[in-house]
């Protein structure tokens, strides 16, 4: 179309030029005439005017036709050829060009078509290979996911940074079973495992895996017991995810809630202990008294009566104690920690490394029997050994410690020795009873607790001949068990929760500003309130939030919590939100909800529609709750104004309609958060079209818009 226009314009210009040239020539000739000549020629021309006009038109038309023919043969076909080739390259490889125009052009078209043939075949081949590879990967992913969902164990896979790449429904169920604060979704893709399990325990496990892998173990598994932040007692089995190059790139955690089983067995133990050990003294007293009475029948009656009285007292006491034990043993429980099997050599090696690193003194292993399997809680035990070494170093200037590990009957003797300083029993006693402090970190345990936990003993001894002192730890021995990884059969069930792309995702925290919007993790949230004026005492009554990880809105990972505002709701608010005051009774108050919400948002960028309003409510609570939301915030209202600066309405419904997002469940906090999240996801590519790619770009663009100047 454009070309035709161009051609018409060219043609018109050409003709105008021709007419002008002839006109000019005529004018020059005309001006050279005298008056008579002018009159004669003028008359002659006028008499022949019809013929002149016809000839003129014929000439112009003829020229036009010649030009058109030239255009059709030499200009148009190469252009079409170029466009056709463009189509092949960019859009449709099976498109072919039409041979036309001159013989040379037709030949060229033939060659292009032949090239396109080759190109298409190659493309098809590549695509077939890609889709084949994709299908295999998808199949594997599905198989894995199905496997995960069938497992009765709770499984979480993390990368080395501790970010969660995969979890199954059981894990989520297990870890959300907290009696604590509301719906804090601690398990989530891209979230940190350290929000659930103490970082030092996980590091300890990883260290163990490294050691065992380094020692040539083919399928190393580490175990530890942890109290979750929600207060559950879980046993974790940890297996490494190993890359092709043999490096550990992450780990699989299999978790069991052992609180119940520990409680039960601990209660049983307690009962057994109070019935055996608690009765020993009394029985000893009775037995001694009875045997004395039997052995000395000549005893004077007064003494005899006293012995019989002792028997009476003790029997009575025992019955009473039995009753007490049965009634009270549940209240005096001490948690018993399950112990793991560990090779003695590993324990000594780990303890030596820890001491060298933390205390900064050299260590030696004098004699380590091998293989010697211990049943220990390696974490607390290594902590104890490090603690002892550090106190020896600090208080008695011990400059080197030595280890020795030998068997003695059913136990292992682990000696921590040094030369020089001997300790008073007073010192030992206080070391045993004080909470262990290591590098400024206080452990809730004492050395005594740790030994009790192991059913072991510790004492101080001096080897007189060599002037060597040592602590001897008596620890339980065990037969090694193959720590097998449980596997279940695959089924055709639907995939679970995974995102392996996170394996390659770097840490979220530093330099968020320069990261691409499409790479960030977001918490999209919304609040419902009693009214519109937070500074006049209006309060939050509902918080809803969803997460966006790797450009996906994660439906399962939502935060949805009603809040008791501790004040009356306005009629409008009841109407808008549909939340009746009765629904808020018994709900947690904001000072309980905000900490949970804060954890839900950890390490993410906040997104809200008209964020300034919601942030204002949150900020007003900073002083009373001590919770600060210092994350970057993006506002979909402002971003909409960036994308469509000429449109008037930037209400959530209007934007949603514009961007083709279904609006469901509006005016519930979670419903609005979902809509806002969908809207935001649609906005990311639109922003990119405007050159707004990073978080920084987006924040700056939003600030510049008119709406940013409105103060709420």
């Amino acid at each position: 179309m454009k070309d035709k226009l161009k051609f018409a314009a060219f043609l018109a210009a050409w003709m105008a030029l021709s007419v002008a040239t002839i006109g000019a020539m005529g004018a020059v000739v005309w001006s050279s005439f005298n008056a008579e000549q002018k009159a004669a020629v003028g008359d002659a021309l006028i008499s022949q005017i019809g013929l002149i006009i016809i000839l003129g038109v014929l000439v112009v038309a003829g020229l036009g036709f010649i030009l058109q023919a030239l255009f059709n043969v030499y200009i148009a076909p190469p252009k079409r050829l170029a466009e056709g080739t463009q189509v092949i390259v960019t859009a449709n490889p099976s498109h072919r060009v039409q041979p036309e125009g001159s013989a040379e052009l037709k030949a060229l078209a033939g060659v292009i078509n032949a090239l396109a043939e080759r190109y298409e075949a190659m493309q098809q081949d590549v695509e077939a290979k890609i889709s084949e590879a994709k299908r295999t990967v998808e199949e594997e992913k599905d198989r894995l996911a199905a496997l995960m969902s069938e497992l009765t164990q709770s499984v979480i896979v993390c990368n080395l940074e501790g970010r969660i790449l995969l979890y199954n429904a059981m894990a989520r169920q297990l870890l959300s079973r907290s009696g604590e604060t509301p719906s804090a979704g601690l398990v989530g893709l891209g979230r940190s495992i350290f929000g659930i399990i103490d970082r030092s325990l996980v590091s300890h496990g990883l260290e163990t895996l490294h050691d065992r892998l380094g020692a040539g173990g083919s399928r190393p598994v580490a175990q530890f017991v942890a109290t979750t932040t929600a207060g559950q007692l879980i046993r974790a089995q940890m297996a490494p995810v190993i890359s092709g190059a043999g490096e550990i790139t992450g780990y699989v955690l299999i978790l069991d809630d052992i609180r119940r089983s520990v409680e039960v067995s601990s209660r049983r133990d307690q009962l057994l202990q109070s019935l055996t050990e608690g009765s020993r003294s009394a029985l000893a007293n009775i037995r001694a008294a009875v045997e004395t009475l039997q052995g000395f029948p000549d005893m004077e009656p007064a003494r005899q009566r006293r012995f019989i009285q002792v028997i009476g007292e003790e029997v009575h006491g025992m019955s009473q104690r039995l009753d007490e034990v049965v009634n009270q043993h549940a209240d005096t429980l001490k948690t018993q920690w399950p112990l793991e099997d560990m090779l003695g050599g590993d324990l000594v090696a780990a303890a030596r490394r820890r001491i060298e690193r933390r205390v900064g003194i050299p260590t030696k292993a004098d004699e380590v029997e091998s293989p010697l399997w211990l049943k220990v809680d390696s974490y607390s035990l290594i902590q104890s050994l490090t603690y002892l070494a550090s106190r020896l170093h600090e208080e008695f200037l011990v400059r080197e410690v030595r280890f020795r590990l030998t068997t003695s009957g059913r136990h292992a003797q682990l000696d921590l020795g040094w030369t020089g300083a001997t300790l008073s029993s007073q010192t030992i006693l206080s070391w045993e009873d004080e909470p262990m402090i290591l590098g400024g970190e206080a452990s809730p345990l004492t050395l005594k607790d740790v030994m009790e936990r192991h059913g072991g003993e510790i004492w101080f001894q001096v080897e007189k001949a060599s002037h060597r002192s040592y602590f001897r730890l008596l620890l339980p021995l065990t037969q090694p068990e193959e720590a097998a990884f449980p596997l279940a059969a695959a089924h055709d069930s639907r995939p679970e929760y995974y995102d392996f792309d996170l394996f390659s995702q770097p840490g979220q925290t530093p330099e968020l500003d320069n990261r691409k919007l499409s790479e960030l993790t977001y918490t999209v949230f919304d609040t419902e309130t009693t009214g519109l004026e937070p500074s006049n005492g209006d309060e939050i009554i509902s918080v809803g939030a969803v997460r966006i990880v790797n450009n996906r809105l994660l439906q399962q990972e939502a935060f949805d919590q009603l809040v008791d505002p501790r004040r009356k709701m306005s009629k409008e608010s009841i109407k808008i939100t549909g939340i009746e005051p009765a629904m808020l009774e018994g709900q947690p108050t904001i000072d309980k909800v905000l900490p949970a919400f804060h954890r839900f948002c950890e390490d993410t960028v906040l997104v809200a529609h008209n964020a300034a309003f919601d942030m204002r409510f949150l900020q007003l609570k900073e002083n009373t709750t001590g919770i600060r939301f210092s994350q970057p915030v993006l506002d979909t209202l402002l971003l909409s104004a960036v994308i469509h600066p000429n449109l008037n309405s930037h209400k959530l419904e209007a934007i949603a309609e514009r961007l083709g997002v279904n609006v469901l469940g509006r005016h519930t906090a979670l419903g609005d958060a979902f809509v806002t999240g969908e809207v935001f996801l649609k906005m990311v590519p639109l922003l990119a079209e405007r050159g707004i790619v990073t978080l920084k770009d987006a924040r700056e663009a939003a600030q510049k818009t008119y709406y940013a100047r409105i103060d709420y």
Binding site: A288, A289, G456, W459, L474
Partner: protein, 124 residues
């Protein structure tokens, strides 16, 4: 001269039997009701033998035992530790820190007496 036995136990009901038993066997008997008294009486009086309970008020039997062993004047004091806890780790600990014998409650008075005699070098 008859040998002297120090009974260190805070339960009068067992002390009564032990005291009677030891007296009838011809020993001079002293009684200490807590760990500190036991240590003082041992280091001052150098008894020939101590019947030392592990669970003593003020100072544990282990500590008393270690301190007695550390006192050069008490080199000849024999120690039999008594305990209501029957775990073998404790037996190992007791013997390691210097007890001559370790007896778990409840015990046979006859066996105890035999052990006392044997340790004092009076056994048959």
């Amino acid at each position: 001269m008859s040998k002297r036995v120090l009974i260190a136990d805070d339960e009068p009901n067992i002390v009564m039997s032990l005291e009677f038993l030891m007296q009838r066997a011809g020993y001079q008997v002293q009684v200490a009701g807590n760990g500190e008294d036991a240590l003082r009486m041992a280091t001052d009086g150098h008894p020939d033998l101590m019947l030392l309970d592990v669970m003593l008020p003020k100072m544990s039997g282990y500590e008393v035992c270690q301190k007695v062993r550390a006192d050069p004047g008490c080199g000849n004091v024999r120690i039999i530790m008594l305990t209501a806890k029957g775990r073998d780790t404790e037996v190992a600990k007791g013997l390691a820190i210097g007890a001559d014998a370790y007896v778990t409650k409840p015990f046979s008075t006859k066996d105890l007496l035999a052990q006392v005699k044997q340790i004092l070098g009076e056994g048959e």
